[in-house]
């Protein structure tokens, strides 16, 4: 492993940030320029992230120190395998979602607000993944949390405002909890750099408070059980592309933060010795069962998807809390899988809602024959979500299952299977109804190709990343796991 000073991680944040201002500047005069600049921003950012690939795969760590804000707390950038994995999947999905937005949003109000926000949040979200220390991570995390409020309340309906208020207050509480932990960590360790491990080496009272702070801050974002209450309200009310990002990507920032907390701030040894990781395990199990169970009862399509996200985040949390190699690998791979699946599902749901104007699952019977491509994409992603081979969701669950055996808790596999069963119970009826039942009262046509393309691409990646021997996300997860576990060893 080699550290290389490179400005590339900074560009990953700076480019979309600069584009935000550019979009803001041109949008008053031209809608076309605004749309194309947004697309360019998202595509360019993905290219910039991809440009780090050769270096990162060679096992190098890219670092860059920007400037000091207060003594000891600097803005630094550092991209290792884990950060790169997350940045890659995020910028990939973001790119597709931005392209999807061009047509989806063209009938919506306040597009001039939507696009700069979308690109700004891209910048701050990637900032989280390329941050070199917890302080930088915290700054970008807060920016992302606060500004995604604008996406949540985009529709400005009564429900949206209500969900948005809940969201912003909980986001602030989460942010403050993080700040508390950050300060405690800094006070104990004297540094918050992610290049270090074992920042809090001993189980102390302050250490436990910090642990809970991290758990609240990141767990809130990740939709962990008692703190998930904002999620099912906030995700469905946002415009569908924004829901795709909120559920597909932004939840993962919380998971990423927790992985960093487990492997950098504390250490697996210390956590398993003190038993603090069981807190996450228990919450994760409840999250899985609760999310899936409540999703069953939802009649609103997007709400059902949102609860499903809660359940799926449970897998990710479970994986990281078991602390074994396969479990962590499953956790990282599931971050990839869930990002692809859930954004595909939300985009498809958005397409259906846009064309039919209906969000209730009963009203969607027969839509599959009217919008075959959209619903096939939906089906692929849903089947992957259930965990049917050969899709990527199967691999995540398989590896997670292996991890559970490795950790000596094979019983958890039952939870995984139970949840898969529930996934099947709430996804399959939608699909069956869409293709084989009923008839749409008003015939609708397929959405434009710029909306189809992202969905098809996402659905296709769900398939190939489960099927192909050359499996980039899987390799990345394996390497990233080796990397973070290796640091510990």
């Amino acid at each position: 492993m080699q550290t290389i000073t490179s400005f590339l991680p900074v560009w990953v944040v700076l480019f979309p940030l600069a584009m935000t201002f550019l979009i803001y500047y041109v949008e008053k005069d031209s809608d076309r320029l605004r749309d194309s600049f947004s697309a360019i921003a998202a595509i360019g950012t993905f290219i910039l992230v991809a440009a780090m690939y050769p270096q990162v795969m060679a096992g190098n760590v890219l670092i860059y120190d920007l400037f000091e804000i207060i003594p000891g707390l600097k803005i630094t950038f550092r991209v290792d395998l884990l950060g790169f994995s997350l940045a890659a999947i995020s910028s990939f999905v973001w790119m597709l979602v931005t392209i999807y937005s061009l047509d989806y949003m063209s009938h919506e109000h306040a597009q001039n607000r939507y696009y700069p926000t979308l690109i700004f949040i891209l910048a701050s979200c990637l900032g989280i993944f390329v941050a070199g220390d917890l302080f930088t991570l915290f700054i970008f995390f807060e920016l992302m949390s606060v500004f995604s409020y604008i996406l949540v309340v985009h529709e400005e309906t009564y429900e949206a405002m209500k969900a948005g208020y809940k969201y912003i207050i909980m986001a602030i509480i989460g942010g403050l909890a993080l700040l508390l932990s950050l300060i405690i960590t800094f006070e104990i360790a004297g540094t918050v750099s992610l290049a270090e491990t074992n920042l809090i080496g001993e189980a102390s009272v302050l250490g436990l408070i910090a642990f809970f702070g991290y758990l609240i801050g990141f767990g809130m974002k990740a939709g962990m059980f008692p703190l998930h209450v904002w999620l099912p309200d906030a995700h469905p009310v946002a415009p569908s592309p924004a829901s795709a990002l909120l559920s597909g990507i932004m939840l993962k920032t919380g998971a990423y933060g927790l992985i960093r907390v487990i492997f950098n701030v504390y250490s697996p040894d210390m956590l398993s010795a003190s038993g603090w990781n069981t807190i996450i395990t228990v919450l994760a199990l409840i999250t899985i069962l609760l999310g899936s169970a409540v999703a069953l009862t939802q009649q609103d399509l997007k709400r059902r998807l949102a609860y499903s996200s809660v359940g799926q985040m449970g897998y990710i949390l479970l994986g990281m809390s078991l602390l074994t190699e396969n479990a962590v690998m499953g956790n990282i791979f599931h971050i990839f899988s869930h990002a692809l699946m859930k954004s595909c599902l939300f985009l498809a749901a958005g397409a259906v809602i846009m064309k039919t104007g209906k969000r209730n699952i009963q009203d969607l019977a027969g839509v599959g024959r009217q919008m075959p491509v959209t619903m096939i994409a939906f089906t692929v992603a849903a089947v992957a979500m259930i965990g049917v081979p050969p899709f990527n969701g199967f691999i995540s669950k398989w590896v997670l299952g292996l991890g559970a055996i490795e950790a000596g808790v094979p019983n958890y596999i039952i939870v995984l299977l139970l949840s898969s069963l529930m996934n099947g119970l709430y996804y399959l009826p939608i699909i069956v109804a869409a293709f084989f039942e009923g008839e749409m009262a008003i015939p609708v046509d397929e959405v434009p190709y710029r909306m189809l393309l992202p969905m098809v691409l996402l659905a296709f990646s769900c398939l190939i990343f489960g099927l192909f021997p050359v499996n980039l996300p899987f390799d990345l997860s394996r390497l990233a796991t080796d990397f973070i576990m290796g640091v510990v060893r």
Binding site: I70, L73, E142, L143, E156, G164, Y165, I172, L176, I183
Partner: protein, 509 residues
């Protein structure tokens, strides 16, 4: 050439006093110009503050080059003469006061024509300059006599710029302020007498030297003096139990006055109090009476109760005024923590809060000027009509809550680190709780201003809501923009101002 050099040398030598004198001289010229050349008043007042700021620049240069400057008035050496001492803390306050008051007055030149009657406008500049001058004097004074004089000037001019609108509310508020502030200054005067009685001096350094010797001879004198000082300054700085005058005064005054009072005036007393505690009273005294712990308790009560009171306000300026009570609590929290990080945070918060709060009051003023509304419930949808003003308000509110990339975050971070440094994590909880409370009362305003007003009537037409607004004048837009950008700049590069703050803290600890 040599003449010019001589003049420059002369100015340089006398710059500590010129900083103040310029303002006082111009202040007394204002009524004259108001009669003779009305349109000259505003530019002249701005010029005088700019000049004073120029001298501050000169002083900064000198102090950084060769350390703190002592200036003996009329070359009478202390203990007989009165003395100015420009050290880092004084410099820090001069810079803060100069910059912020210049921006506020720029805004005021436009706002005052709207808020005040024609014939008092000239007088307003007089009072404003007197207030700025006396605060600058307070920042660099090194003896109790001068301090008292400047405090009185500041109190009277502050009172007058509250009551200048001469409607019922303002007069009532300023009367309340006058009485309470008289109690405060009375206390200060008494304690000056008590200290003079035991030491025979008025100069800070000489008193400090004297007190070392007589601490155990006249402990009661000194304790009572400390108590009275504390009382006086707490009233003036509006710390929790004695804050009652502030909400009325700050909300009813013209907006530039409110910005001035909330942004600067209450802070200067905190600084003078800090100077007295650290430089005049002997450290041994604080082993007898734990004054810093008392400050900490009052500060946290101020933080929590100020925020809670702010939550229930209906008038936007009143809400901002209560928020000031909470924020002055942060400054005192920093003083009470007495650790390098904590004190840095407290002092830095003086500068940061001066920016944020004056910005918030000015944007509230701009809303009152352009839209004529001041009830929080009437502010719905205002962000779409006055995007600049509400954007600036949003930055200020985010800074109040302590969202990163704003200056408020930096001072809270310092304070939070200070609490752990001092081993008092309880106050960390206070800081975090108050951030949440701030969010609870600031965010609904922003949300209401920008979102939730996308209504269509039954024909699908966009519905216009709320009051019609006037265009924002340039003189208001520019200071607001500068302050808004400043909040973000100092959130990213606090080092620029921390250079001074660190040295000021180094002086004390």
């Amino acid at each position: 050439m040599s003449h010019i050099n001589q003049i420059i040398a002369l100015l340089q030598d006398h710059s500590p006093v010129l900083v103040v004198i310029v303002l006082l001289v111009f202040a007394y010229m204002m009524p004259l110009f108001a009669r003779w050349k009305k349109e000259w008043c505003a530019p002249l007042a701005l010029t005088s503050i700019a000049l004073s700021l120029g001298f501050t620049g000169l002083l900064t240069w000198e102090v950084f080059a060769s350390g703190p400057i002592r200036y003996e008035m009329g070359s009478w050496a202390p203990p007989w003469g009165i003395e100015f001492l420009v050290d880092y803390i004084g410099l820090f306050m001069l810079i803060t006061i100069g910059i912020i008051s210049l921006l506020i007055l720029t805004f005021g030149t436009e706002d005052l024509t709207h808020e005040l009657k024609e014939k008092v406008q000239g007088w307003y500049y007089t009072l404003y300059l007197l207030l700025v001058g006396s605060m600058m004097g307070l920042a660099i004074t090194n003896d109790l006599f001068n301090m008292f004089v400047f405090m009185e000037i500041a109190a009277i001019s502050a009172c007058a710029i509250i009551s200048i609108k001469s409607d019922r509310e303002c007069v009532e508020a300023s009367l309340k302020y006058l009485i309470l502030s008289a109690v405060g200054t009375g206390g200060v005067l008494l304690s000056i007498a008590l200290l003079y009685m035991v030491t025979g001096h008025l100069n800070f350094d000489f008193i400090a030297a004297g007190l070392e010797n007589v601490l155990y001879v006249y402990p009661n004198n000194i304790l009572v003096a400390l108590a009275l000082f504390t009382l006086g300054f707490i009233v003036k700085a509006a710390l929790f139990p004695l804050h009652v005058w502030l909400p009325d005064a700050h909300s009813s005054a013209p907006s530039p006055s409110s910005a001035m009072l909330s942004g600067l005036v209450i802070k200067i007393y905190a600084v003078v109090y800090l100077k007295l505690l650290m430089r005049v009273f002997p450290a041994e005294l604080f082993t007898i009476i734990p004054i810093f712990d008392i400050i900490l308790i009052l500060a946290s009560m101020s933080i929590i109760f100020g925020s809670i009171f702010a939550m229930v306000q209906k008038d936007i300026k009143r809400m901002l005024a209560y928020s000031s009570i909470a924020q002055i609590g942060y400054v005192f929290l920093g003083i009470g923590l007495l650790t390098p990080m904590g004190l840095s945070g407290g002092l830095l918060h003086i500068f940061n809060h001066a920016m944020m709060k004056s910005m918030l009051f000015l944007s509230a003023g701009a809303i009152i000027y352009c839209a004529g509304v001041r009830n929080i419930s009437d502010l719905k949808g205002i962000g779409l009509k006055m995007p600049l003003v509400m954007a600036v308000f949003t930055i200020g509110a985010l800074a109040m809550v302590g969202i990163p990339v704003t200056n408020g975050f930096i001072s809270k971070l310092y304070l939070a680190l200070g609490t752990l440094e001092a081993g008092k994590p309880f106050y960390l909880a206070v800081i975090l709780a108050s951030s949440l409370l701030n969010a609870v009362y600031y965010f609904p305003i922003i949300i209401g201003a920008f979102f939730g007003h996308h209504h269509h009537d039954e024909y699908g037409e966009e519905v216009e809501e709320g009051p019609k607004v006037k265009k924002l004048p340039m003189a208001m837009g520019v200071p607001l923009t500068i302050l808004g950008l400043g909040c973000i700049f100092f959130g990213l590069f606090p080092g620029v101002i921390m250079i001074v703050v660190e040295r000021a803290v180094g002086m004390f600890l």
